[in-house]
Subunit: 219 residues, 2 copies
DNA sequence: AGCCGCTATATTGTCGACAATCAACAAAAA
DNA sequence: TTTTTGTTGATTGTCGACAATATAGCGGCT
C-alpha cells in the first residue's frame, strides 16, 4: 500500500501507475469499458497483471467492476463530485485537527516556508504554481496528521479522483488569492496548536472550493 | 465492490468472505504471516484466488502486504485502535449530518422504531442485544447518508476492523444505557433534520466509546 | 410485428507451471 | 568475534491455457 510515495517495484505496480495516470488525465475516456485482453496487449503484460491493476483502481474508486461482466472507468457526474467533496471535507478536516496536534515544530516551519514561497510566486503573477501549490499544501497536512488510515484513504484513495475531476473538468480557475488567505489561516491555527479551529477552517476551505466548482458546472 | 450487502458470486468472493471472517474472529491470529500456498491448500482454491482475496483484505486494512515478501494479518495495537476511532469520528459524524438531510421520512421512522425495540429489550434485561443493536443503528445511518464513498469506506473498509477489535479485545462491556440515550438524541436530531447537531452528537458518541475502550485497554 | 428462447461468440474467472526475488544460513575474511 | 558475501531454499510474481459465464444475434412462435 501507500501507492503514492513508494516506487513501483513489480510489473503490476508499474502498470497500475500507468493506467491510473492514463485514466486521471483522460487518455482513457471516463465511462468507457476496460477490456482485460485489450489492455494486456496495449500495455504488453499478461492479463493477470491487468487484473491486479484493475483491482487496485477499483479501490481508488477510479473504475467500477461487476462480476463476470467487466470493468468501466468511473463516470464524472456532478453528484459524484459533490459526494467526493463531502468526504474530503470530513476527512481533511479531521486531518487538519490531528495535524495541529501531531505535526512536529519542524514540519510546521516547513509548511510556513512553503506558504511564503507560494505567496512570493503569486506576487510575481505566477499563479499557475497554485495548482501544484494547493496540492502540496493539502498533502503536507494530510501526512502531518500521522494517522495511517486517514492518509491512506486520502492519498491512495480520494486524491487521484479529485485530480481526475480537476483535470478533465478544467478546474484551474480563479479563487487563487482567496484560497491563499484560507491556507494562511489554517497554517496559523496549526502553528497555534488549535486543532478545533484548524478543522473548522479546513472544512470551510474545502466547502468554498466545492461551491466554486459547482458554480462552474452550472455553466 | 460493496462487499457487505451483495452475495458472493465468484469463488474469490467466497474465499474473501471466509478469510475475512476467520481473521476478524481471531481464528487466524492477529499479526501472523499468511502464506499463499498454505492458504490455497487450506481453502482448496488456487493461489490466484488467494491473491485476489488478500488484495481485498489489504484494502480493508485487515492485512498488510509487502512486495516479494508476503502478507501479514494486522496487529492489534492501542495506537491502531485510536487511529481507527479518529477516522470513525470524522466519517460517521459526516454520515449523520448527511443522513439528516438525505434520509427519507420512512427511513427515519424505521430508525425510530428500531430504537424503541432496543429500549424495550433493554428493560427486559436483554442487554446482549446491544451489540447487534449498536451495529444496526450505526449501519442504518451510514446507509442513510446516501454517499457512495462514505458508505463504502465505512462498511466495506473500517467496519470489519472495528469488529475485529471488538471481538478480540472483548468490548462487550457496559456503556449500554448511556449509549442508548446518545442514540436517542442522535435520531431526534436527524428527525428534526438538524444535520449540524446530528454530526456533533455522533462525534461525541463515538468519542465516548473511544474513551470507554481506552480505559479498558489500560487494565 | 413483437416477444421469447436458443445458439454462438467473446469476455471474465480459475488454474497449474515457470521465473524472479527475498530471507536465512553458512563460510570466509578482517 | 564480527562483518560481509555467496549459496540455497522457499515464497511471491508472472504467464498462457482452459473453464464458466454473460451479451448479442438469430430464428421460431404467438
Amino acid at each position: 500500500m501507500t501507492f503514492f510515495v513508494e516506487k513501483p517495484v513489480t510489473a503490476a505496480d508499474k502498470t497500475f501507475f500507468q493506467l491510473r495516470k492514463d485514466i486521471v488525465e483522460g487518455d482513457i475516456v471516463a465511462g468507457s469499458k476496460l477490456s482485460e485482453t485489450e489492455l494486456s496487449t496495449k500495455y504488453s503484460v499478461s492479463r493477470a497483471i491487468i487484473r491486479e491493476a484493475l483491482n487496485r483502481l477499483e479501490f481508488c474508486h477510479l473504475v467500477e467492476r461487476k462480476a463476470n461482466v467487466g470493468a468501466r472507468v468511473v463516470a464524472l457526474t456532478s453528484e459524484g463530485l459533490l459526494e467526493l467533496y463531502q468526504v474530503r471535507e470530513s476527512l481533511e478536516g479531521m486531518a487538519a485537527r490531528l495535524a495541529a496536534k501531531n505535526m512536529s515544530d519542524e514540519e510546521v516551519n516547513d509548511l510556513n516556508y512553503l506558504l511564503n514561497a507560494h505567496g512570493a510566486n503569486m506576487e510575481n503573477g505566477q499563479s499557475y504554481y497554485q495548482e501544484a501549490g494547493d496540492v502540496d499544501f493539502h498533502y503536507r497536512i494530510i501526512v502531518g496528521c500521522k494517522n495511517k488510515h486517514l492518509t491512506s484513504m486520502l492519498i491512495d484513495g480520494l486524491y487521484h479522483l479529485v485530480r481526475m475531476y480537476r483535470v478533465q473538468l478544467g478546474m484551474a480557475g480563479p479563487r487563487v488569492t482567496t484560497a491563499f488567505d484560507e491556507h494562511k489561516h489554517i497554517v496559523q491555527a496549526i502553528a497555534n496548536r488549535d486543532g478545533e479551529l484548524a478543522e473548522m477552517l479546513m472544512r470551510r476551505h474545502i466547502m468554498y472550493s466545492k461551491h466554486s466548482i459547482q458554480n462552474k458546472l452550472k455553466n
